[in-house]
Symmetry: C3
Subunit: 293 residues, 3 copies
């Protein structure tokens, strides 16, 4: 029975890891990404004043991870722009989200049940990207463990890591913070995921890659869907992180190293001063967007 | 007769498109570019305090388009610096413009009739660069329409697109605006030119490249010379843009999308709050430079 | 006798230029570099709040020159991260300097006699890097004199040239100044060194490379050790520079072009308003670090 169970899981994982991402999953990725761009204060005004800047921002939100990974591996930053169908799909999403009459498209995709499905689909793409990034780096540098982790990390985090410069494109400049100093849950999970996939790629973890992809995807979907549904911006890692950082880096206990929560394990605490972009409570966001319209 | 006329235009275009740019046209390009650098507030002080920073700025003004295009296509940013004669010529222009006794060289080239000729020559180089950029990108990505447009665009716009970082080199930081949010006429024309040349390169426009180069050059020369002579910073595109942006992006009519003029078709309106670098009225500029000396 | 002397110098230079840098010299380089990071105001707080940002800063301090040179020559910015042993050694130094109990490691290496030795060893590595950078660029561009100088320069200066962006990683933003506008002694010496090594590489200076490496290393060690011991931030070039800049660039005499000293030849003047990072007097630094602990 146990053997069969393992076989089945392996089969499911195999099938899952061979599933194509384009167009359904990619579409969900683009929608959720550009939705987060629309939540950014000022982005609606920019879309009215300068469509070119708004379009470029949207492209960075959708393809920032490819651009960054290509740059890190010495390639051309615009390499991914050769896939015209992806660019056109993302551009269509951008147009519908920002300029659709009556804001209809936005209202549909921001409707919580729809959004939860899209968020779940987005995490499928994110996990795949991390695995692909690690694999790509492994081919370029067989023993470059650090390079594998870095490339997997940027493939998972995408635009968040260059958010300072993406904001600059829209005339916003907040030098006092950045995504590395205040990592949001997806960025942190990408880092841990990149480490896991690197260990798998170099055979330190005795598990098939397809299985790891399946398990990590399930973990990411669960976390993000629960967090989105509960309008929470906590992190499931904060308790462990708090202790590890205390032991290794002497960070004060009771406040997680990168979180600044009053109480380390209060994932929904609304008083956090360092809310990250992807973690703003839905209510605030919607109000902001409505005000901007 | 008509056939002959076409033949003649084709011949002229052929001859024109084969004309070498070095050294006459390139010299004009360097002079006008570094002249615009000298118009920038604070650049004269920087040239006194730190010649290295001033020289680097001048090089960015002259070769920014090559640097950006090389970076975008995955090459070395300093690749163009292998052409020692170009660098030496541009350095000589920089030295004469900033350090010539009695400011003699500056006074000569800033004299309006001379300047109009130089501006006209500069536009010849700009058009060539756009065409070369699109062609270069076409060779790297045969179906990468977006890449061709982007590379042609940066080849035409040059330093303007990285002006935030060029200013940073001189200790100036203006995050609230950038060239993509407030496109000046040359930047906008480069974008439209890049689209035209991409359509030509992919055979969507049934016209010879040499003819397109000739026509686009004539258009650019006419516009820039008239604008420089009238000290204007309007754009011949503003009326069309205003309507297109209103239809497509819901921008308020009567103010062009990226212009912020009170009246959309008031090209010489001196009250524009978002004057771009290349569009500052000559009077203001000269006063500023004189003050700085 | 004279011939023998020359032979001996040549032999010593040969032996010296073949000496391996890893691990002793590189270790000293990492220690001194990360020590300077710890002197930066706010870096200790960042190490408590976000170890990832602190680690990245430390890596930029140690490997910034490789990253920059790789980028300039069109390679991958993370290329050097394939040398796991170097990264691990630098990471160990970072950990010990920032998180060692009782701050023991910091106290050892910041103890002046120890520090003087480490600073001397660091300059050995710097000179080697400049020579290697020029040689690397020479292989890529045989006649690219400017490229050789630029690559040698960034190999010698390292993180200083991107200090604005390194600071941004730690949430600090000082756009009003940068290393090119206010060059510190090591940056300036790297520029002059790069010019010297370029002249040697292209056979304009009739001297063996190993001899030039030996002589330049001795010069750098002498200057830096004296400056560190005397807590000075002057520059041995200031008198010559002051005159050259006055003649060539019309800079006011009596204040060196990039120094802003009241008196040009007062190398230990404590009133300089533009103290560079590497030149802050030891006393101030130590007080700052102690305060931050």
């Amino acid at each position: 029975m146990d053997v069969l169970g393992v076989l089945n899981l392996g089969d499911i994982a195999q099938t899952f890891s061979k599933m194509g991402m384009f167009p359904v999953f990619d579409l969900a990725y683009y929608i959720v990404s550009i939705l987060y761009l629309k939540y950014e204060p000022g982005s609606v005004e920019v879309s009215r004043r300068s469509p070119v800047a708004s379009w470029l921002s949207a492209m960075l939100y959708c393809f920032g991870s490819y651009i960054l990974a290509d740059v890190l591996l010495g390639g051309s930053p615009v390499d991914y722009f050769q896939y015209n169908s992806h660019i056109l799909l993302a551009s269509a999403v951008w147009y519908l989200l920002f300029y659709c009459p009556l804001n209809l498209f936005y209202k549909c995709v921001a409707f919580l049940p729809v959004k939860l499905v899209l968020v779940a689909l987005k995490e499928v793409v994110r996990t795949r990207k991390i695995a692909a990034g690690v694999h790509h780096a492994f081919h370029a540098y067989h023993h470059g463990f650090f390079i594998m982790i870095i490339v997997g990390y940027v493939k998972g985090s995408g635009v968040a890591l260059i958010s300072n410069f993406e904001q600059l494109l829209r005339g916003v400049w907040r030098p006092e913070t950045n995504e590395i100093m205040n990592m949001s849950f997806p960025t942190k999970a990408s880092l841990y995921g990149a480490i896991l996939f690197t260990l798998q790629e170099t055979h330190w973890i005795p598990v098939a890659k397809s299985t790891l992809i399946l398990l990590f995807t399930l973990f990411m979907i669960t976390c993000k869907v629960v967090m989105t549904a509960r309008h929470s911006h906590g992190s499931p890692f904060s308790l462990v992180e708090s202790w590890v950082c205390h032991l290794l880096f002497g960070s004060p206990l009771g406040g997680a190293a990168d979180d600044h929560h009053g109480g380390a394990v209060a994932p929904a605490a609304p008083s956090s001063p360092a809310k990250s972009k992807e973690e703003l409570s839905e209510g605030t966001r919607k109000r902001k967007v409505k005000k901007a319209e």
